[in-house]
Protein backbone atom coordinates (compact mmCIF):
# COMPACT_ATOMS: atom_id res chain seq x y z
CA UNK A 1 0.00 0.00 0.00
CA UNK A 2 1.33 3.46 -0.89
CA UNK A 3 0.37 6.67 0.84
CA UNK A 4 1.33 10.12 -0.33
CA UNK A 5 1.23 13.34 1.68
CA UNK A 6 2.04 16.97 0.97
CA UNK A 7 3.32 18.76 4.05
CA UNK A 8 3.05 22.53 4.36
CA UNK A 9 5.90 24.48 5.92
CA UNK A 10 5.45 26.57 9.04
CA UNK A 11 2.14 24.83 9.73
CA UNK A 12 2.70 23.46 13.19
CA UNK A 13 -1.00 22.86 13.40
CA UNK A 14 -1.25 20.26 10.68
CA UNK A 15 2.09 18.61 11.46
CA UNK A 16 1.59 14.99 12.36
CA UNK A 17 -1.22 14.30 9.89
CA UNK A 18 0.89 11.91 7.80
CA UNK A 19 2.31 9.96 10.74
CA UNK A 20 -1.06 9.57 12.43
CA UNK A 21 -2.59 8.33 9.17
CA UNK A 22 0.16 5.71 8.80
CA UNK A 23 -0.31 4.79 12.43
CA UNK A 24 -4.02 4.20 11.90
CA UNK A 25 -3.43 2.00 8.86
CA UNK A 26 -0.89 -0.11 10.78
CA UNK A 27 -3.31 -0.44 13.67
CA UNK A 28 -5.94 -1.76 11.30
CA UNK A 29 -3.39 -4.27 10.08
CA UNK A 30 -2.99 -5.42 13.70
CA UNK A 31 0.73 -4.67 13.82
CA UNK A 32 2.27 -4.83 17.32
CA UNK A 33 1.95 -1.54 19.24
CA UNK A 34 5.72 -1.26 19.89
CA UNK A 35 6.42 -1.52 16.18
CA UNK A 36 3.73 1.04 15.37
CA UNK A 37 5.27 3.39 17.90
CA UNK A 38 8.71 3.02 16.33
CA UNK A 39 7.41 3.93 12.91
CA UNK A 40 5.14 6.72 13.97
CA UNK A 41 7.62 8.45 16.28
CA UNK A 42 10.44 8.30 13.72
CA UNK A 43 8.09 9.56 11.03
CA UNK A 44 6.58 12.31 13.18
CA UNK A 45 10.04 13.61 14.05
CA UNK A 46 10.95 13.74 10.38
CA UNK A 47 7.64 15.36 9.52
CA UNK A 48 8.10 18.02 12.19
CA UNK A 49 11.60 18.72 10.88
CA UNK A 50 10.13 19.41 7.45
CA UNK A 51 7.73 21.91 8.97
CA UNK A 52 10.25 23.60 11.26
CA UNK A 53 13.23 23.76 8.95
CA UNK A 54 12.23 23.18 5.37
CA UNK A 55 8.97 24.91 4.41
CA UNK A 56 7.30 21.52 4.04
CA UNK A 57 7.81 18.79 1.49
CA UNK A 58 6.41 15.48 0.35
CA UNK A 59 6.12 12.16 2.11
CA UNK A 60 5.68 8.76 0.52
CA UNK A 61 4.99 5.84 2.77
CA UNK A 62 5.13 2.32 1.43
CA UNK A 63 3.52 -0.33 3.62
CA UNK A 64 4.76 -3.76 2.61
CA UNK A 65 3.94 -7.16 4.13
CA UNK A 66 7.09 -7.20 6.25
CA UNK A 67 8.34 -3.63 6.45
CA UNK A 68 7.38 0.03 6.18
CA UNK A 69 9.51 2.37 4.13
CA UNK A 70 8.96 6.11 4.39
CA UNK A 71 10.63 8.70 2.18
CA UNK A 72 10.42 12.33 3.29
CA UNK A 73 11.72 14.77 0.74
CA UNK A 74 12.05 18.53 1.06
CA UNK A 75 13.64 21.36 -0.80
CA UNK A 76 14.65 23.24 2.32
CA UNK A 77 18.01 24.63 3.38
CA UNK A 78 19.61 21.21 3.81
CA UNK A 79 21.76 20.05 6.68
CA UNK A 80 25.31 21.41 6.73
CA UNK A 81 26.79 18.82 9.01
CA UNK A 82 24.73 15.67 9.40
CA UNK A 83 27.05 14.23 12.02
CA UNK A 84 26.60 17.30 14.18
CA UNK A 85 22.85 17.36 13.56
CA UNK A 86 22.62 13.74 14.75
CA UNK A 87 24.12 14.71 18.09
CA UNK A 88 21.49 14.65 20.84
CA UNK A 89 20.81 18.20 22.03
CA UNK A 90 22.10 19.98 18.94
CA UNK A 91 19.40 22.19 17.46
CA UNK A 92 18.97 25.06 15.04
CA UNK A 93 15.22 25.45 15.62
CA UNK A 94 13.59 28.86 15.92
CA UNK A 95 12.56 30.41 19.22
CA UNK A 96 8.90 29.83 18.40
CA UNK A 97 9.53 26.15 17.69
CA UNK A 98 11.41 25.83 20.97
CA UNK A 99 8.68 27.52 22.94
CA UNK A 100 6.28 24.95 21.58
CA UNK A 101 8.46 22.18 22.90
CA UNK A 102 10.16 21.34 19.63
CA UNK A 103 13.80 21.92 18.90
CA UNK A 104 15.12 19.88 21.80
CA UNK A 105 17.77 18.52 19.48
CA UNK A 106 16.35 15.04 19.88
CA UNK A 107 14.61 14.64 16.54
CA UNK A 108 17.32 12.90 14.58
CA UNK A 109 18.38 10.99 17.69
CA UNK A 110 14.85 9.63 18.05
CA UNK A 111 14.72 8.75 14.37
CA UNK A 112 17.97 6.84 14.66
CA UNK A 113 16.76 5.10 17.77
CA UNK A 114 13.46 3.95 16.31
CA UNK A 115 14.23 3.33 12.65
CA UNK A 116 15.72 -0.04 11.72
CA UNK A 117 17.40 1.67 8.79
CA UNK A 118 17.81 5.44 8.59
CA UNK A 119 19.28 7.16 5.57
CA UNK A 120 19.74 10.90 5.31
CA UNK A 121 20.92 12.65 2.20
CA UNK A 122 21.26 16.37 2.28
CA UNK A 123 22.76 19.11 0.22
CA UNK A 124 22.96 22.62 1.67
CA UNK A 125 20.74 24.96 -0.31
CA UNK A 126 19.04 22.12 -2.15
CA UNK A 127 17.16 20.03 0.36
CA UNK A 128 17.07 16.88 2.41
CA UNK A 129 15.75 13.38 1.86
CA UNK A 130 15.18 11.16 4.86
CA UNK A 131 14.39 7.47 4.44
CA UNK A 132 13.10 5.44 7.34
CA UNK A 133 12.65 1.69 7.23
CA UNK A 134 11.08 -0.27 10.05
CA UNK A 135 10.60 -4.04 9.99
CA UNK A 136 7.13 -5.14 10.95
CA UNK A 137 8.17 -8.54 12.29
CA UNK A 138 11.78 -8.09 13.48
CA UNK A 139 11.91 -11.43 15.34
CA UNK A 140 11.58 -13.32 12.06
CA UNK A 141 14.55 -11.79 10.30
Amino acid sequence: MNLHFDVEGGEFISAGVASSKVKKVLKQLAIQPEIIRKISVAMYEAEINMVIHAHGGVIDAEIMPDYVHVILKDEGPGIENIELAMKAGYSTASRLAREMGFGAGMGLANMKRYADILQIESEPGKGTTVEITVKLYPEQS
Binding site: S19, K23, G101, N110
Partner: protein, 111 residues
Protein backbone atom coordinates in the same frame (compact mmCIF):
# COMPACT_ATOMS: atom_id res chain seq x y z
CA UNK B 1 -4.93 4.11 39.00
CA UNK B 2 -7.89 5.19 36.88
CA UNK B 3 -8.12 8.52 35.07
CA UNK B 4 -11.05 9.24 37.32
CA UNK B 5 -8.76 8.82 40.35
CA UNK B 6 -6.23 11.18 38.78
CA UNK B 7 -8.90 13.80 38.24
CA UNK B 8 -10.10 13.50 41.85
CA UNK B 9 -6.62 13.53 43.40
CA UNK B 10 -5.73 16.72 41.51
CA UNK B 11 -9.22 18.19 41.63
CA UNK B 12 -8.48 18.84 37.96
CA UNK B 13 -10.82 20.15 35.27
CA UNK B 14 -11.33 17.76 32.39
CA UNK B 15 -11.56 19.89 29.25
CA UNK B 16 -12.29 17.11 26.74
CA UNK B 17 -15.42 15.09 26.12
CA UNK B 18 -13.56 11.81 25.64
CA UNK B 19 -15.04 9.13 27.93
CA UNK B 20 -12.49 7.90 30.47
CA UNK B 21 -14.00 6.81 33.76
CA UNK B 22 -12.35 3.44 34.31
CA UNK B 23 -9.46 3.83 31.89
CA UNK B 24 -6.20 3.18 33.69
CA UNK B 25 -2.96 5.11 33.78
CA UNK B 26 0.05 2.92 34.46
CA UNK B 27 2.82 5.44 35.02
CA UNK B 28 3.59 9.15 35.02
CA UNK B 29 5.87 11.26 32.86
CA UNK B 30 6.80 14.92 33.18
CA UNK B 31 8.02 16.68 30.04
CA UNK B 32 7.57 19.80 27.96
CA UNK B 33 9.97 18.89 25.18
CA UNK B 34 7.97 16.82 22.74
CA UNK B 35 10.86 14.73 21.43
CA UNK B 36 11.84 13.71 24.93
CA UNK B 37 8.27 12.68 25.66
CA UNK B 38 8.07 10.71 22.41
CA UNK B 39 11.37 9.04 23.13
CA UNK B 40 10.79 8.12 26.75
CA UNK B 41 7.19 8.21 27.95
CA UNK B 42 5.52 4.82 28.34
CA UNK B 43 2.17 3.75 26.95
CA UNK B 44 -0.86 4.67 29.02
CA UNK B 45 1.08 7.13 31.12
CA UNK B 46 -0.26 10.28 32.71
CA UNK B 47 1.72 12.92 30.81
CA UNK B 48 2.29 16.05 32.87
CA UNK B 49 3.18 19.17 30.85
CA UNK B 50 2.71 22.91 30.51
CA UNK B 51 2.21 22.67 26.74
CA UNK B 52 -1.39 23.25 25.70
CA UNK B 53 -1.17 23.47 21.91
CA UNK B 54 -2.46 21.06 19.30
CA UNK B 55 0.79 19.18 18.81
CA UNK B 56 0.43 17.54 22.23
CA UNK B 57 -2.43 15.55 20.72
CA UNK B 58 -0.21 14.16 17.96
CA UNK B 59 2.42 13.23 20.55
CA UNK B 60 -0.23 11.81 22.90
CA UNK B 61 -1.64 9.69 20.09
CA UNK B 62 1.78 8.40 19.05
CA UNK B 63 2.66 7.24 22.55
CA UNK B 64 -0.87 5.99 23.38
CA UNK B 65 -1.01 8.32 26.34
CA UNK B 66 -3.40 7.53 29.21
CA UNK B 67 -4.24 11.17 29.80
CA UNK B 68 -2.58 14.58 29.49
CA UNK B 69 -2.40 16.83 32.53
CA UNK B 70 -1.74 20.48 31.70
CA UNK B 71 -0.33 22.19 34.77
CA UNK B 72 0.10 25.74 36.15
CA UNK B 73 -3.37 26.64 34.78
CA UNK B 74 -1.93 26.90 31.27
CA UNK B 75 -4.72 27.18 28.74
CA UNK B 76 -5.41 24.35 26.36
CA UNK B 77 -6.03 25.73 22.87
CA UNK B 78 -9.52 25.20 21.43
CA UNK B 79 -8.17 23.37 18.38
CA UNK B 80 -6.25 21.04 20.71
CA UNK B 81 -9.43 20.20 22.62
CA UNK B 82 -11.28 19.56 19.37
CA UNK B 83 -8.52 17.30 18.08
CA UNK B 84 -8.33 15.47 21.43
CA UNK B 85 -12.05 14.70 21.22
CA UNK B 86 -11.56 13.29 17.72
CA UNK B 87 -8.60 11.17 18.79
CA UNK B 88 -10.11 9.94 22.09
CA UNK B 89 -7.50 11.68 24.21
CA UNK B 90 -8.33 12.94 27.71
CA UNK B 91 -6.91 16.31 28.78
CA UNK B 92 -7.31 17.85 32.21
CA UNK B 93 -5.97 21.10 33.60
CA UNK B 94 -4.86 21.98 37.09
CA UNK B 95 -3.43 24.97 38.92
CA UNK B 96 -0.75 22.76 40.47
CA UNK B 97 2.80 22.81 39.13
CA UNK B 98 4.19 19.80 37.29
CA UNK B 99 6.25 18.98 40.37
CA UNK B 100 3.21 19.11 42.64
CA UNK B 101 1.17 16.93 40.28
CA UNK B 102 3.96 14.35 40.13
CA UNK B 103 4.28 14.39 43.91
CA UNK B 104 0.54 14.02 44.48
CA UNK B 105 0.19 11.15 42.02
CA UNK B 106 3.27 9.45 43.36
CA UNK B 107 2.01 9.73 46.93
CA UNK B 108 -1.23 8.09 45.79
CA UNK B 109 0.65 5.12 44.42
CA UNK B 110 1.29 5.90 40.75
CA UNK B 111 4.73 4.68 39.74
Amino acid sequence: MTINDVQEILNATVVTQTPYENNEVLSGFVGDLLSVVMGKAKEQCAWITIQGHINIIAVGTLINVGCIIVTESFKVDDDAVKKANEEDIVIMTTQFSSYEVAALLSKSGLE
